[in-house]
Structures are given as C-alpha cells and as structure tokens.
Symmetry: C2
Subunit: 608 residues, 2 copies
C-alpha cells in the first residue's frame, strides 16, 4: 500500500494517526538540524517534518524538487499554522521515508507563474500539467462535462457513439482522410461533426441524443483553433426552435450553477442577426458593456429593415464622410478628457494593417455640455451634439467615428468597440453575459463561384414561411452584380447561436427533414443529382422512411470551458494541445512512416 | 409544440386530458367504420382511435406503416385493456391529425424478429435501429456507460480527453494513419489506445484518470472485431495490483447492479494464467460450468510447476496416446448414454478443419459403474476407471479424450469443452461468471524473428521479484530451439485480465515507471536506442521527472455491453458498425477522394 491518505486530506481531527503519504517534493527547507518538506499530490500539499534522527538518511538519499516520495509518520499539530492551506494545521513527523523515483531538475518551475515559454511548456506538457493553474483548468473541464452529462441525462438525452471512420464529403472545411488498407485506393474521413449521424438517429426514433465528441477539421490554424476539437453535440426530435432554446439555455445555466456556483437567473436576451450586425458590428456581440454602434450612414441594402441617419453628416463639405459608403460611431463612456496623445494613439490603432482604416474622427462630449471635435471646422456645435446624441453619448463620453467601405468599416468599428472596452476594463473575465442570436441568413454569396453557400450547413431549414421562397425560385444567380436582389438573399434560416462574452459558444438549427427540400438545398449549393447521391444518398434515402421534424445544436466544448475558466485561449483547457502548425511538439507528431506502411496502404508521397 | 406527452406516458390517471402526441405509425387496423392506429416513439406505444367522423380525412390522407403522425385528442379508458403495455389501459380519441412525414414501405419489417438479412439491415441501419431489440441494446450501452462514469466519479477518477491525431509507433497491431497537409510527407496515427497518454497523466499527477474512448486498429477483421472500438480506459497512481483488482471488481459489480439489478456479491475468483491454461486450455475460461481439463500427458515445460499423469495411459500399446505429445480429457456430465450416432457426430466435429484433430477417444462411465470405451481393447476396465477418475468423471458422464501436438490439442480440447457446454445448455446468457486471470508471462516468443515480444504491451512491469531477472540478463536468445530455457521465458508480468463468461472483457497491468527498466524492455523487443528515442522519447523523457508508480486497465466497452446484453456479437451494440471488410455499407465508406484532396495532401495512389 503506497498511501493511507492523500496529501490534501489530513486535519486536526487526525492528530496522532499513523499515516502513509505518497507524492512529489514541492519544496525542501532546512532549518538547522531539522528539514521541512512540502509533499504534493493532486489533492493538496502536506508539510513533512524530518527530525535530526533522519539526517544521515537524508544525506545518503538527498531529496530534490519533484522527487516522488513515500513517507510514514505521525500526524502532529503545527506550531506555525498556515490558514491558507486546508492541511495547514497539521504536519507529519516523518518516521521513515522511501524515494520512489528521482527527478531531474525540471526545465521550468512547477508553479503558477512559471518561467517556461510556450514551446518549452508544450514540449514538456507532462510537467506543465503539474502546475496548479493548468490542473485547475482540466478539473474545470471535467466539471463542465460532468454537469452537461447530468443535465442531459435528466432530460432524457442518450449518449450514443457515432463512427470516426466515415465518408469524405468535403463541403466547407477540409476533411482529414485515412487510407484504407483493406479497401485499397479508398479513404475514410474523420468527422467534422457527427451531423448526419445524429440526424439519422432522429430518423431512427432516438428522440434525444447527445455526445461529447472529438471532431476534426483540416484548416489552416489560427491561435484559437485546433485540428481536433471537442463538441457537446445534441439533437432532438419533435421540436421547434423555442423548445431548443429553452432546453439549452437550461443546460448552460446548470453548468454555471454546478461549476461556478453562479445563479444565472436572467432569461437570455434574444437578438436577431440583423440587430447584432447593425448594433454591434458582428454576430457574436460582447454585451457585458453597453456601447452600441450608431449607423450614421449605411447605404447598402444588407439590412433592408433598418434606416440610415445619413442626413446628419452629409452635405457639410467633409469629404471623408461624404465619399464614404459607411460611417459608424460609438460613444465611449467617460473618455471626453482624452488628451491629444491619447486620441492620436487611437488613430494609430485604427490605422494598423490589421484594422486598416484611414483615420479616426472624434467628438469629445465635455462635462460642461460643450463639444470638441477633430472635425470642428465642418460641423457646428449644434450638429456635433446631434451626431453625439445619435451615438447615445452622454456628457463625459468620447464619440469615435469611422468611415469607409461597408464591411471593413463595420469590422473596424466592432474591433474598436472591443478595444476600448478592454482599455476601460469593461470585459471582466468573471462577468458572464449570454445571449441568443437568431434569424441568420440561410445563404451566403460565394463571389468566386457566383453561387450560394450554406451559412450554417446544408441541413439547416429555412424559416417555415421562407420554405416556399426556396422551393419556388431557381437558385441560379443570373445577375452577379445584383445578387442581393435574388429571392434567396432574403431567406432566413431556422438557426440560432448562443453567444457568451463575445464568443460563439454554440450554434444549431432546425433541420430539413423532407427529401424534396433537402434536394433543393443541395442543388442551391451547386450539387448535381449524381454528387448528391454519392455524398448524401444515405441521408436522402433515410428521409423517405418517416423522418421526424428535428433540430439540435453543438457547443464548442473547448471554448466553453476556456471562457467559463476566464481565459480566451482554448489551448490551456486541452490536456495535450497542438501548436499552430498542427504539431504535437511533445510527441513530435506528425512524423514520417515506414516503407512497410506505405506498401500496405498502397499510397506514396507526391511532394511538390 | 409537437407533443404534450410521449407515446409511453399516458395512464388512467390522465383520463379526459386533451393531449398531443407525435410518433410513428406502428399498425393500422380498420374495424368497420372505426380505425385503430398504434403510434410509437422511443418511450412506448399508445393506441389511437379514429372515429367514423375522421374517415373522410383518412381517405384523403391515408396512413401507412412508419408514417410520422401528430394527433390531438382526449385520453379515454379502453374497453379492451392490454396489460402487457404500460399505456394499455387508455387510448386517445383522435380529434385531429397531421401527417408530419410519409414513409415508403420499409425494406424489412420493423419488429424484433425481422425479415431483413444482415447486409440489408446494415444498409438501412437507421431503420434497423427502430427495432425495439436494437434500441434496447443501445439503451443498455448508455446505461453501462452512465454507471461506469458515476462509479469512477465517486472514486475520484477524472475524465480527461487524450488526442486522436498522434504519432505512428506500430508495435503489434497496425496503425491507421492520417496524412498531414500542413506537414507534407508526414502522417499522424489514430491511437490504438491512449496508453502512453494516460501514463503521462500519471506523471503529471492526475492520480486517477478515465475515459470512454474510441480506439483504432487496422487489422484483418474477424466477425467480432471492428476497426474502431471503444474502451473504458483507466489509470491510477500509487497503486499495487491489489488496489486495481479491488477498484475494478467494484466497477463491474456496480454495473451489474445499476444495469441488470444483479447483486454480484461473490468475491471474484482469481486464477493464475498457468492454472487457466492447464485447467481450461485457454486464458479466458468460461467458468459458468464445472468441466475441467485433465492433463493425461503433457511433456513440455510450458508449465514447469504442474505434473503430468502420463503413466496412466502410456505403455498400453495404444499408439495414438503413446506417440502424442499431449493427451487431454474432459468429463461431460450426463452424456454416458450417447449413442454411436452421437459419438460419431462428436468425432466429426473435432475432425473439422477449424479444429483439425485426427480423432476422438471416449469413455462412457455408465450409471451401473461399468465403463465402455472406444479403446476397450487397449485399456482394462480398471485402467479406464482410473483415467475417468483422473478426469473427475462421475457415473453417467462421458469422458472425451484428444491427443496430438500440444498447442493444437489444448485449443481443440478447450473448444470441445465449450461446444459440449453449448450443446448441454450450460452457457446461459443470463448467468454471469467473472474472474481475474493473473500472472501472465511477460514475454512471448516470436519464432520468425527469434526474439521476444510483449505479451500485453511494452509498458507492463514484471512482477517485483522478477525485475532483477530482466535487468541482469541479456534478452538475446542464443539457442532458438531451447528458447524456453532462456531466463526471460519465466518472467511473469504484473498483469491481469478480467474474464466474463469466457470472454476477456478487460485487462491491464502495473506499469514500468523507471527509465532504465523501460529501456531494457524496449531493447528486449529488439528496439535500438535510436528507434526507442524516435518512437517513445517523450515517455522515456517523462520518466526522468518523477514518474510515480502506476497501473491501470482498459475494458472493451463494446464486448462488455454485448455480454451483459446476453449476446456474443458486439455489432448489435454499436449504433453504426462496419462489416467484416471494414466498410460502412450505409454510407458506402471508405470511398474515393477528389484529385484536389490528393494534391493538397501531396500523396498519390500506388496500387499493385
């Protein structure tokens, strides 16, 4: 028996017990003839006292950091208690010790603020995982998973495993493929998601399915993406959008309660995609802070139901605004006293290549009711006030205005909004704001091919009253320049995203469940009948045998955990992540394979 | 809202309620002017009554089998109650119905004893899954998983996900590989198990890890194998074999309680590998029945601690026994009255190519105390009695004796034992007998390479008192003919298998946790230092930084579920299984991929 107790377990109630502990040497401190050692395991840290009698043993078997140690001894009360440690009232008077394994000096220190750089910590991930801060992340991940499983179980969902070796049907992202030895010349694909399988399970009548499951996408990686990632994947039969929103609002609230002990009692705000884009400049708004975008000029008909405020700014002979396609403003609270240096900083910030704007216009809404602007010579104080009012500015605010091409300006304004919130400390990691974004467009326009692509995926249903528009119109875009006039541009999807603190944490849709509509969708995406049959014949076939109405969603498990853990980096919440080149630097994978493997798989390299 | 209740929910207590149900049409029965429809969903079946008033609607919208139907109506008491159905006391007087989706006539009937063949059911797996018997299998699988998670959670295990895109280190089975686009010319491998990762997690101090996880092996498939399969994968730190046996004995008992409501209170029998091989002819004995093998002649030193009974049978001028390397006997209860036809049948059975024996000797132990044998002319009744006694035969038993080369004869006798038990109905699917098999040999001899291979895997530790034998001897086998005399042949592993009803359902070991011993193991398997470093450098490195003593095991989840479900076929317990060629006949995968995919991956086919 290696231990009678863990290193986090002993208390004053255990005084005088004879115990055996095993763990890692955290610190060794020698005071005269006695030695204190902190021993650590997953459960905590306990102080060990080696008396003078053990000095000869210690000299013969010196202890080092991260050595694996077993001790037998008696639980004593500490004279110098540590109230910050659950075991801080006791220590073990060591009678006997065994070094179970030695340790070389770790390449970085095993503590919260380590001296290890990213690559070094990835290479020695098994040591990085010893750090309390990283361990806590994985514990949180386990708690989120456990909470999810309990909630879904209580709501009659069944965990059903779907296959990993499936068929390659690239649509959108690239598949990872797996050569088949038994079927030479053919390949499996790893699933980008279990989408079609969960729909088949609904056709099978399983009614409520879930899985916490690995998915794979062979994309060029950004900092917050991984080639393999985990989804909480769910599907329900006989549901409308409202049923799904309620069910999964409940799930996330349950997770907050179980994992963070937060009672998230607010009903989640629901926002249309159009409102999100119009008011926040993107479809996953961070609503922890109030700043909204005022649309001073917005000529294009992306948002046909919205009206522009262009009359406020036009005709003042200010060419930047007059010539711009779009002019957008935000009111930043309490920044009217920004100095020239500070406003110059902001101007430099928007001019950086990542943002790419030509300049920044500001209006200071002074506390005394006066206005001071970088465009004073074009706009009267009266006009500046009306612009500031349009941006909902209050006394003390700083209005920031960007002008330029529509998409770029909207993105820049959205980024500036986030940047200012960050500067002002409005994006607090321990503040959580959830919302639903609804009514996405069903299609996006792919300029290079002059055709439609599915904004969500090809299995998403149009809104019920838009189904006829889809069925009754030809998807072909006759006039590329005016694609927005095509009836398909206005079709809204029966789709929904859940947004947390400016991140899309989950998304889904009510699915198409009738063969004819699914075929129309595939055709709209440019798939002819043969391709439909080759790629999705099994699903079209299944829809012939009594497919029920169904819908679902998937949460990005890695990201959900990261945000709940107060981090923006998913990598910190994955036990063995890959770097931005898709490499596991610890394993040194991917790597070359043997000639025998090539021969058996009947493939060879074709390097360019 | 598609439904107010499920189809399994309504009872007499719900009388007169107005309800909405959705589900599939199971049957339509017309009686004069009224029509009865059974509507089915995951939760049950409810009887619907369509009165005469709906006949015009039904004529306009006729219902067929597997149509998806929504009805509104009133809960009424049935005059003709069905006590076998939880909803059998009520029926719904339908006021209004909607056909949500139609169904073509299914290619086989959706009922327990279907008329669909295997391939047809695999192709239409989404319909096969509608059958109650298959649905129950997946429900059982979910229950086993849920029970497992709860038990392990209560015992401080953490579910930690390990990566799927790892490094190819084929040792034993073949890896599935995945070409990397971002690292051209290099490949990931899919994990055969998370073995090294769970060991790294122990080095990281996670102490107790588990995962219910997909694993992949590219092997030629037998009927009960799948290229992707699921393991319950576990690892613990600071444990000895005894700790692991107790923990996982507890897990399986918990599963039996939760899933089958069986109180499996017996302490699991523990049997050494040697005893299992000696007494049952294989290392996963089915101990639901008592028949044991008597070793009448066993010359080789595979089992040095056992003694042979050869004097009983030799020297009687019966060449078959005199010339045989091995002679083994079993006593089959109550079969002494087998007719000539029946014993001939058994002789034919052992002569089949799959068994491959030359013949079968029998001794009938008649109820009257006399003996009748096929070798009467070589053995006196006295001698026959002694042989029968050696086989533990009682009056009324039939002793069956096989002779031949050691391995073949042992396997044949083991198979015959199982076959007789099957014939006699001794292998009851609802009877469960668990045991541990312990003390496996650490190594097996690979004749083609004249070297050792790891019987379990290269991370398994020798028994503590065998470590020195391993360290202090050269693994090279100088004399191939006498490999059993090599010290390594006698090294026993710190390994254990759990056996249920003649199937290995789980296995594991205490691991090597010291670099020097691990290097010695790799060297014993013929890996030079460079290969060790290339394949397992990360693990050897990890062992330098304070690796704790650890061990674990993995259960074959698919098989465990199948046996608990009373089946020998794992395929029935997998939602979307592959056939024996590794194909998903529903998806038609694997399949060809696009030229664009080949180009991006920089590989091409090299078909022979």
């Amino acid at each position: 028996m290696y231990r009678s107790h863990t290193c986090g377990e002993l208390r004053l109630a255990d005084l005088k017990k004879e115990v055996t502990l095993s763990g890692w040497v955290q610190t060794v401190r020698k005071f005269g003839s006695i030695t204190f050692v902190d021993i650590r395991d997953r459960y905590g840290i306990t102080q060990l006292l080696f008396s003078e009698a053990l000095n000869a043993d210690l000299d013969a078997n010196p202890l080092g950091r991260e050595f694996v140690l077993q001790v037998k001894g008696i639980v004593n009360e500490r004279s110098n208690k540590n109230p910050n440690l659950p075991t801080g009232a006791i220590e073990i008077a060591v009678a006997q010790f065994t070094i179970l394994n030695k340790s070389a000096v770790p390449p970085f220190s095993i503590q919260d603020d380590t001296d290890g750089g990213d690559e070094l910590r990835m290479k020695y991930r098994f040591l990085d995982l010893r750090r309390n801060i990283v361990k806590k992340n994985l514990e949180l991940r386990y708690a989120v998973g456990r909470s999810t499983r309990n909630y879904l179980h209580e709501n009659n969902f069944m965990d059903i495993e779907t296959p990993f070796l499936i068929k390659s049907t690239p649509e959108g992202a690239r598949d990872f493929v797996v050569p088949s030895r038994m079927n030479a010349g053919q390949f499996y694909a790893l699933p980008q998601s279990p989408q079609t399988f969960k729909q088949l399970l609904m056709v099978s009548g399983f009614d409520r399915y879930y899985q916490i499951v690995k998915c794979f996408r062979d994309e060029d990686l950004r900092a917050d993406r991984q080639p393999e990632f985990t989804q909480i994947d769910c599907e329900m039969s006989f549901v409308e959008q409202e049923d799904i929103l309620n069910m999964f609002e409940g799930l996330v609230k349950r997770i907050f309660k179980d994992v963070k002990n937060i009672d998230y009692t607010d009903v989640l705000e629901r926002m249309t995609w159009e409102d999100a884009m119009w008011t926040y400049g993107n479809d996953k708004p961070d609503t922890r802070f109030e700043i909204k975008i005022a649309n001073l000029k917005f000529p294009r008909h992306t948002f046909p139901t919205q009206s522009s405020l262009a009359t406020l700014i036009e005709g003042a002979a200010f060419g930047v605004f007059d010539d711009a396609e779009t002019v957008l403003a935000i009111a930043v609270p309490g920044c009217s006293d920004y100095t020239r240096k500070q406003t110059d900083e902001l101007t430099d910030w928007v001019k950086r290549p990542q943002i790419g704007m030509k300049g920044l216009v500001f209006i200071k809404c002074n506390e005394d009711g006066t206005y001071k602007s970088s465009v004073d010579k074009f706009y009267s104080p009266e006009k500046l006030k009306r612009i500031a009012d349009a941006a909902s500015a209050k006394a003390g605010d700083l209005v920031l205005i960007l002008a330029g091409a529509e998409e770029k300006t909207r993105k820049a304004t959205s980024d500036l909004r986030m940047y200012m919130a960050e500067r002002l400390g409005l994006r607090r990691a321990d503040d959580f704001k959830l919302l639903w974004v609804l009514d996405f467009p069903l299609f996006e326009y792919a300029e290079e091919d002059n055709r439609w692509v599915a904004r969500h995926h090809p299995f998403t249903s149009p809104k019920p009253d838009h189904i006829d528009i889809m069925i009754n119109n030809n998807p072909v875009i006759a006039n590329a320049a005016d694609y927005l006039a095509h009836p398909y541009a206005g079709i809204k999807a029966n789709a929904y995203d859940m947004v947390l603190n400016g991140n899309e944490i989950g998304g889904g849709s009510i699915r198409i469940f009738q063969r004819a509509l699914q075929e129309k969708m595939f055709a709209a995406l440019g798939m002819d009948e043969e391709e439909q049959q080759h790629k999705f014949g099994f699903l079209l076939g299944a829809f012939e045998y009594g497919a029920p109405p169904h819908g679902g969603l998937a949460f990005g498990f890695d990201r959900l955990c990261a945000i709940i853990g107060g981090s923006e980096s998913i990598r910190d919440f994955i036990a063995f992540p890959k770097n931005n080149s898709g490499r596991d630097v610890m394993l040194d994978a991917p790597s070359t394979i043997d000639n025998k493997q090539f021969e058996e798989l009947q493939i060879k390299l074709d390097l360019k």
